[in-house]
C-alpha cells in the first residue's frame, strides 16, 4: 500500500520550499518504519542520534556518518522507501565510477528523475542554451549517471541528442596499468566517431568530458566546425583545472560559451556552473536546494573551512526517493557563498584530492 507523504516532500525545484522544513519531512519519511527503506531502517538503530528528533535543519546533516561504502554491497531493492508501496517507478540504477574499489549503487526513481531534469533544464536556460538545437553528447551511459542527465537535459530543451558512448572504467584500468598507448587508441576511436557526427550533422550543443575537449583541440577540422556552428559546450564528468578552462575558453573555443557541469553519482544529479562568470574567474557550482547540499571541510578535522579556502567536498543528497548524507567526495574545492537562497556552501575550482607519495628511492642520479 502507498502511504501519503507530506506534500512538502513532493516539492519541485521551482516550488521554493524551505530546505530545513524539507529536510525534517525527509527524516520523518526515511526513518518511519512504515515509509523508510529497509536500508535506512536497518541502520537507524546503529545511529547515535534519532534523525526524526535531532535533525532540525540542513546543518544537522553533519550528524550522519558517511555510510556510502555500504552502497557497494546493498541490494538495490533495499534502497527504495517502502512508502512508495507498489507505485515505486524505478527508472535507473547508477554505479559510481569505481575509482576507489567496487562501485557504489544508487537508484533513480521517476519522481526524482523529473526533479533532477527540471533543475538542470532551468539552469541551462539561464545560460541561454538554444531550444530545439541538436545535441551531441559524448559521455558514459549505462551504469553512469552523467550520460543519462545529459540526454534528459537535451530532451527537456527540445533537442534531439546524438550520442557517443564511452567506458571510463576501461580507460582507468589502462591508465593504472601504464598502457598509455591504448588510452590514446581508445580516445582516437571516440574522436573518429565524433568526427562523423560533427562533420555531417548540424550540432548546436556539444556535451563532452574534459579529456575529449582537450583531444578535440588537436583536430583542426573539428575546431573549425565546432567554433563555426556549435552554440554551447557543456563539459563535465571529470575535473578541469583553471588554466585548461581558460585556454579552452579563450584560445581553443573562443567563439562558443563553455559551461561547466559538476556532478557525481552520490549527488544523483548535476550542478551547472553559475552563469555570468567569464573564464578568468573561478568556476562556481551552486548547490540545489532543497535536494543537494555541499560543505567544504578540513579533511583532518572535519570542520568547515572559511569562505575562500580550499577543503574536501562533502555532498548530501536528500529527496523522497533517496537519502545519501555526508558523502565525502574525492574532490577538493574552494568554499564559496551560494547564490540566492540555496543552503550550505557553493564550491569553486573543483580539483581531485592530491595524493601524497612517500620518499622512495629509485637508483640512479636523475
Amino acid at each position: 500500500m502507498t502511504y501519503e507523504s507530506p506534500s512538502v516532500l513532493d516539492a519541485g525545484p521551482s516550488d521554493g520550499v524551505d530546505p530545513d522544513e524539507f529536510l525534517r519531512a525527509a527524516m520523518r519519511w526515511h526513518f518511519d518504519p512504515a515509509t523508510g527503506s529497509r536500508y535506512w531502517l536497518d541502520r537507524a538503530e546503529r545511529l547515535a542520534f534519532d534523525p526524526r528528533q535531532d535533525v532540525k535543519g540542513v546543518a544537522d546533516l553533519s550528524l550522519f556518518p558517511d555510510l556510502t561504502d555500504e552502497l557497494r554491497h546493498v541490494p538495490v531493492a533495499d534502497l527504495i522507501p517502502r512508502g512508495y508501496g507498489g507505485d515505486a517507478r524505478l527508472i535507473n540504477v547508477f554505479d559510481s565510477g569505481g575509482t576507489t574499489g567496487a562501485p557504489k549503487r544508487v537508484v533513480q526513481l521517476d519522481d526524482w528523475m523529473r526533479h533532477s531534469t527540471e533543475q538542470v533544464d532551468r539552469r541551462l536556460r539561464e545560460h541561454g542554451l538554444p531550444l530545439g538545437a541538436q545535441w551531441l553528447t559524448v559521455a558514459p551511459t549505462g551504469p553512469h549517471l552523467v550520460g543519462d542527465v545529459l540526454q534528459r537535459a537535451a530532451a527537456a530543451l527540445g533537442g534531439p541528442a546524438l550520442s557517443i558512448d564511452m567506458d571510463p572504467r576501461w580507460v582507468k584500468k589502462l591508465i593504472a596499468a601504464g598502457r598509455g598507448d591504448e588510452v590514446e587508441s581508445y580516445t582516437d576511436h571516440l574522436v573518429e566517431q565524433c568526427r562523423r557526427i560533427l562533420l555531417t550533422q548540424d550540432v548546436g550543443v556539444l556535451a563532452a568530458t574534459t579529456a575529449l575537449l582537450e583531444r578535440f583541440a588537436r583536430e583542426d577540422d573539428l575546431l573549425e566546425r565546432i567554433n563555426g556552428s556549435v552554440r554551447a559546450i557543456l563539459w563535465g564528468g571529470t575535473h578541469m583545472d583553471p588554466d585548461t578552462r581558460h585556454l579552452l575558453a579563450t584560445e581553443v573555443f573562443p567563439d562558443v560559451p563553455l559551461i561547466g557541469m559538476y556532478g557525481n553519482t552520490m549527488m544523483l544529479t548535476a550542478l551547472l556552473e553559475r552563469p555570468g562568470l567569464d573564464a578568468s574567474q573561478p568556476c562556481v557550482f551552486d548547490p540545489v536546494s532543497p535536494y543537494v547540499f555541499l560543505s567544504v571541510v578540513d579533511p583532518a578535522t572535519g570542520e568547515r573551512v572559511e569562505v575562500g579556502e580550499r577543503g574536501q567536498v562533502i555532498v548530501s543528497h536528500v529527496s523522497k526517493s533517496m537519502l545519501i548524507p555526508n558523502n565525502a567526495e574525492r574532490d577538493t574545492a574552494v568554499r564559496v557563498r551560494p547564490a540566492g537562497d540555496h543552503a550550505g556552501d557553493a564550491v569553486a575550482d573543483v580539483a581531485p584530492v592530491a595524493t601524497v607519495k612517500g620518499e622512495t628511492v629509485i637508483e640512479g642520479v636523475y
Binding site: A217, T244, E359, V361, E363, V365, Y366
Partner: protein, 469 residues
C-alpha cells in the same frame, strides 16, 4: 635590486617567477607551483602548463621552420655569452647560480664551473652536432659536395622533446645539438631545478631563436607523458624503470643510470692514479651519471678502498652555496631515505666509509650526504650496480676469469692498464658507451665528443639524393 646573503636570495621586487616559455611568449599559470630549496623554503614560482597547452605548443613547433643554419654559429656564441654573463629572466648569473645550488644541492663551485662549460658547449653546438655526420652525407641539399656524395643528412622528425633531469646543469648541453640540426625543441625542466633550462632557453630566444622554434614547458608528470607522445623524438632521463618503459619505443632515447666504472689491472699501480680515482667518484658532487659508481681492482682491493675512503673522509660538510662546499645537499627526508636505502643495499659488504650513516644534518631542514666506500667480495656482486646521487663507490676485486661481464652496462669505463688486448675487448663491448684510458677522470667531456653515442645517431638518417647535382 637583489641582495645575496649566505642562505637566501631576497629579491626586492617579489618572488622569482619562472614562466613557461611558449610559442606565443611567456605564459604564467593561475597558481604557479612552488620551487623549494634543499631546506624546503620557497624560492621561485614555476608555471606548470596543462596538457592542452603542451599539445598546442607542439603543434606550433611543428608548423615553424627550422632555425636557419646561416649565422647559426654567431647566434649560438651570442646565446652562450648571454647564458654565462647576462641577466636572463630577471636573474643575473650570480643569482642564477645561487638558486641552482640551493635547489639542486650541488656545490656552488660545481654550478659555476658548469655555467662556463655549458656556455662553451652552446657556442660550439653546431660544429659538435656536425661531428656525428657520416662522411658520405652532405649537410643539406644546397651543399656543393652533394653531387659527389649522392647522400644528404636528413632529420627523422621535426619536433624533439627533452624530459630533463635536475641533477646537474650539464644535462642541458645535449639538446642544443637537436636545435642546430633543425629540430624544433621542447624542453620540460626538472621541477627541482628549472633555472638552468629557463636561462638557456631565454638566452637562445634573446640571441634570435624564435619562440615557436624552442619552448620551455614545465609540466606535472601527466602532461610530461603528453609531451613525449606528441614529439617525433624524445630524450627522457630517469632510473631503470624509465629505461624499461621506453626500451621498445624507437622514438624515445632513455638516459638511465650511468653505472660508470674504473678498472685497474695488475700491471698498473693505482697509487699513481689515486687523485683521478677520487675525483671520478666525488667531483661534481658525485651527482653525475659520469661519476664512478664502482672501481674494480685486479688483486687485493682493500688498500685502494682504504686510500679512497681516507681521501673522501676529509671532505667538509657545508651548505651548498658555501664556496668551499664539495658534497651534495638534499632535503633531510630525502637524505634519510637515501641513507636507509644504502644501508639495505650495502648489507653484507665491508664498509670503509659511511658504514655508520652518511647523513650530516645541517639543522635547517637539509643535510649533506657524506661519501660512502664499500668493498664487495667478488666482481659479480649486485651492489656495484647501485648508483646513488652522492659520492658512493663500490670497490670490487676483479680477476681475468670474471671476464668483462661485471664491466657491462657502463656509460664511461675508465681503464687503468697497459693491456691493449683488454682495451680492444672493452671497445668492442656493445653495452659500454665510452672507454677512457689513463689519467682522465670519468666525467671528462668535451664539445663534439660523444656522450652516449652522438645524439645525431638518434635524430638523423642519411638519404640518397641522385639527379639534383
Amino acid at each position: 635590486m637583489t641582495v645575496v646573503t649566505a642562505g637566501t636570495v631576497v629579491k626586492a621586487d617579489g618572488p622569482v617567477y619562472l614562466d613557461a616559455l611558449g610559442p606565443g611568449g611567456p605564459y604564467r599559470t593561475r597558481v604557479p607551483s612552488g620551487v623549494t630549496d634543499v631546506s624546503g623554503t620557497d624560492v621561485a614560482r614555476l608555471s606548470l602548463v596543462p596538457p592542452v597547452y603542451v599539445h598546442r605548443a607542439l603543434a606550433a613547433l611543428r608548423k615553424a621552420e627550422a632555425v636557419p643554419t646561416a649565422g647559426l654559429d654567431t647566434l649560438l656564441e651570442t646565446a652562450a655569452e648571454e647564458f654565462a654573463t647576462g641577466t636572463v629572466g630577471g636573474l643575473g648569473v650570480r643569482e642564477y647560480e645561487h638558486l641552482v645550488s640551493r635547489t639542486s644541492g650541488s656545490p656552488l663551485t660545481v654550478v659555476r664551473t658548469a655555467t662556463r662549460d655549458t656556455a662553451r658547449f652552446v657556442g660550439l653546438a653546431r660544429s659538435s652536432a656536425d661531428r656525428g655526420r657520416p662522411r658520405g652525407a652532405a649537410r643539406h641539399s644546397g651543399d656543393p659536395t652533394l653531387g659527389s656524395r649522392h647522400a644528404v643528412w636528413a632529420r627523422r622528425g621535426e619536433v624533439f622533446a627533452v624530459n630533463a633531469s635536475g641533477n646537474h646543469p650539464g644535462v642541458h648541453r645535449l639538446w642544443l645539438e637537436a636545435l642546430t640540426l633543425g629540430y624544433r625543441v621542447a624542453v620540460r625542466p626538472s621541477r627541482r631545478e628549472p633555472f638552468t633550462p629557463h636561462r638557456l632557453v631565454g638566452a637562445l630566444h634573446r640571441a634570435g631563436v624564435r619562440e615557436d622554434q624552442l619552448v620551455l614547458l614545465p609540466t606535472d608528470h601527466q602532461a610530461a607523458g603528453a609531451l613525449i607522445r606528441g614529439a617525433d623524438r624524445a630524450v627522457v632521463y630517469g632510473g631503470d624503470d624509465v629505461v624499461a618503459r621506453y626500451a621498445h619505443d624507437a622514438r624515445v632515447l632513455p638516459q638511465g643510470p650511468g653505472r660508470t666504472k674504473i678498472l685497474v689491472t695488475a700491471d698498473t699501480d693505482w697509487r699513481g692514479y689515486l687523485d683521478t680515482i677520487v675525483a671520478s667518484v666525488a667531483d661534481e658532487g658525485g651527482t653525475a651519471c659520469v661519476n664512478a659508481t664502482a672501481v674494480l681492482v685486479e688483486g687485493d682491493p682493500a688498500p685502494l678502498a682504504e686510500a679512497v675512503a681516507d681521501r673522501l673522509s676529509r671532505l667538509p660538510g657545508l651548505p651548498p652555496q658555501d664556496a668551499r662546499a664539495v658534497l651534495p645537499v638534499y632535503p633531510l627526508d630525502r637524505a634519510r631515505a637515501l641513507d636507509s636505502y644504502l644501508r639495505k643495499v650495502a648489507a653484507g659488504t665491508r664498509a670503509w666509509l659511511g658504514g655508520d650513516g652518511i647523513v650530516d644534518d645541517l639543522g635547517d631542514g637539509s643535510a649533506v650526504l657524506r661519501p660512502a666506500v664499500h668493498q664487495v667480495d667478488h666482481a659479480g656482486a649486485p651492489q656495484p650496480r647501485a648508483e646513488l646521487p652522492f659520492p658512493c663507490v663500490w670497490i670490487a676485486p676483479w680477476t681475468r676469469s670474471d671476464g668483462i661481464a661485471p664491466l657491462r652496462d657502463t656509460l664511461v669505463l675508465s681503464l687503468l692498464s697497459r693491456d691493449h688486448a683488454l682495451l680492444a675487448t672493452l671497445l668492442a663491448e656493445p653495452t659500454i658507451a665510452n672507454v677512457y684510458a689513463g689519467d682522465r677522470p670519468t666525467y671528462w667531456m668535451a664539445p663534439g665528443v660523444p656522450h652516449d653515442s652522438y645524439l645525431s645517431d638518434f635524430l638523423m638518417r642519411s638519404k640518397a639524393v641522385v639527379g639534383f647535382e
